[in-house]
């Protein structure tokens, strides 16, 4: 589609500013994290790693980080397992009300988190689950499972169901088919889904605020408290580390997927062991 040169330049200029807008907070935080000063000034006059040291030296910060890591790993496990099973059931299975069920299972993506938060808050308060990490294992899993279902569902829909049919008609049982035909097909999607489930839980803040407590404070919750009441410059370092985590997970997912897909292409047809 051709436009006159000047309108093209205008378009590019506008879009570059939008892109700058998108990157601005991230870039500013990363730069500000190396600021030596106590005050949140920008641009920094002197540079140091003191805020990074602060993070690694204070239990106030690294303990919530470790808790967040633990919760994210558990959430990743639960939601990937539940979500994958559900996706297989929704895409390959047939039952009445399948459409509604699928809509229902994806709906947590669209229901405002705050409503889920108060619902769970009232529920868990009754059984004394507030302030315990278990509450967050469950709540985060609820938030991450729909994402897993969408990702794995898409992979299943775009793959060839007749491969599984062929395996079944050749005598493979239901479980063997799942293990040696279905699972390898969706392995790249599984990697993506697991990675995103991890990130969703690790960064999650609203449920952490409502369901957490002194013994169950995640990193986002602690950061939130600092941002609201007294801004601690360590926040810039922590935020930069969080950005790093997100980028790492994204890159890792992309690389793993590439490796899996390459291995699949090179593998010759071999019968499964046993």
């Amino acid at each position: 589609m051709d436009h006159t040169g000047s309108s093209r330049v205008l378009l590019w200029a506008f879009c570059l500013s939008v892109l700058l807008f998108l990157l601005a907070p991230i870039l500013v935080i990363i730069i500000a994290s190396f600021n030596d000063s106590q005050f949140l000034q920008f641009p920094p006059q002197s540079w140091s790693l003191r805020w990074y040291n602060r993070f690694f030296d204070s239990p106030h910060w690294y303990e919530p980080a470790l808790l967040s890591l633990r919760i994210a790993l558990v959430t990743m496990g639960i939601s990937t397992a539940l979500g994958t099973l559900a996706a297989i059931g929704l895409v390959r299975g047939e039952f009445r009300g399948k459409r509604i069920t699928e809509l229902f299972m994806i709906s947590p993506l669209f229901v405002p988190v705050i409503v889920v938060a108060i619902g769970l808050y009232f529920q868990f308060a009754g059984i004394q689950l507030i302030g315990k990490p278990v509450a967050l294992y469950l709540a985060h899993a609820l938030l991450a499972t729909p994402v897993v279902i969408v990702i794995i569902g898409a992979a299943l829909r775009s793959s060839d169901a007749s491969l599984e049919l062929a395996a079944r008609s050749l005598g493979a049982s239901w479980i063997r088919t799942a293990r040696f035909v279905t699972l390898p097909i969706i392995r790249p999607a599984l990697i993506s889904a697991a990675g995103f489930a991890f990130l969703i839980s690790f960064d999650e803040v609203v449920l952490a605020i409502f369901l957490g407590g002194p013994n169950a404070t995640t990193l986002p919750k602690r950061m939130w408290e600092s941002m609201r009441f007294e801004i601690d410059p360590t926040l810039t370092a922590i935020s930069s580390l969080l950005i790093l985590v997100a980028v790492t997970v994204l890159v890792a997912v992309a690389l793993l997927r590439r490796a899996v897909e390459r291995a699949r292409g090179q593998r010759t047809l071999q019968s499964p062991p046993g």
Binding site: M1, P25, L82, F110, V115, L170, S173
Partner: protein, 299 residues
């Protein structure tokens, strides 16, 4: 139901309609049960409880809902929420449409770079991004210091804890949700149609306005619906970057439940919020088809 499966025999209850997908049926369907049970316990049940609490006090009463309409504070929160969300949607559309269009019309190499730049903030936590704006928009932040340094203003602008801060923060967070649906629709538009219009004598702008834009409308609708839906329910950004005048339904719920301890009324607000969001979602998913909305998220 024989676990070993004899070759060629249909699973129990299978409907033989000739497509491979319905060959096996109820067995795969069972796989949905664990997740479904999980959802019932942790999602459906707590939410229905909210509905029950909003209606019973302890007898059946409309008291909570009456209070919703009559009390000025709560009504203001609803108005604020809608105002903010509409502004955010317009902002995202204005910023996102040209960018999506550009992404469609450039070489694949550059396209990947553009879309990656959109993806990185998308996967960065809302908290981190909102905090970034806290640093940029503060009285001693980047914007104010730059403007003062070059002499445009003499005292810092108040860009935080007001509508400006909230809008900037929310547009930033929701922009990728506008760009991806737009892009996925635009990429499927047949550019030959635009070329035909040009060859028939239309100027580039006319071709754009009368051929390309109407064809991109489904993307606009999907993106706008998604952004609006999410904006209405937002908590983090308005709470962090807004002032007392930017009370939204979400921040109000937080206040009512945690500070005022009015659990019943908090439940009512929650029900209201879900109803608003759910209605918009249902309307759009029937018009556009759920697959469109969902498919665009799996990018």
């Amino acid at each position: 139901m024989d676990g070993k499966g004899v070759a060629g025999s249909p699973a129990v209850g299978a409907v033989n309609r000739g497509s491979s997908r319905t060959y096996w049926s109820s067995r795969e369907a069972l796989l949905v049960l664990p997740a479904l049970g999980f959802y019932f316990l942790l999602y459906l049940y707590p939410l229905s409880r909210l509905l029950v609490w909003s209606l019973f006090d302890p007898e059946l009463t409309a008291k909570n809902y009456q209070q919703l309409i009559t009390d000025a504070v709560y009504f203001k929160a609803l108005r604020n929420t809608l105002e903010i969300s509409v502004l955010v949607t317009i902002g995202c559309l204005t910023l996102g449409y040209p960018l999506a269009y550009l992404a469609v019309t450039v070489r694949p190499r550059i396209r990947v770079v553009l879309l990656t730049i959109v993806l990185v903030p998308f996967w960065t936590s809302v908290l981190v991004r909102s905090f970034g704006w806290l640093v940029i928009l503060g009285t001693n932040g980047l914007v104010n210091r730059t403007l003062i340094a070059i002499g445009v203003i003499s005292s810092p602008l108040k860009l935080l804890y007001n509508l400006v801060g909230v809008e900037i923060g929310m547009i930033h967070v929701l922009l990728p949700f506008m760009i991806f649906p737009l892009y996925s629709v635009m990429v499927r538009i047949d550019t030959d149609l635009v070329r035909v219009a040009r060859s028939l004598g239309a100027s580039p702008w006319r071709a754009m306005l009368h051929v390309f834009m109407p064809l991109s409308l489904p993307g606009v609708a999907a993106g706008a619906a998604m952004v609006f839906l999410m904006a209405v329910g937002f908590y983090v950004t308005p709470a962090l970057l807004g002032g007392p005048q930017q009370l939204t339904l979400a921040t109000l719920i937080d206040m009512v439940v945690n500070d005022l301890l009015h659990w019943g009324f908090g439940a009512t607000l929650g029900v209201l919020l879900v109803t608003v969001v759910g209605t918009i979602f249902l309307v759009f998913s029937t018009i556009l088809g759920l697959d469109r909305l969902v498919a665009t998220r799996t990018r």
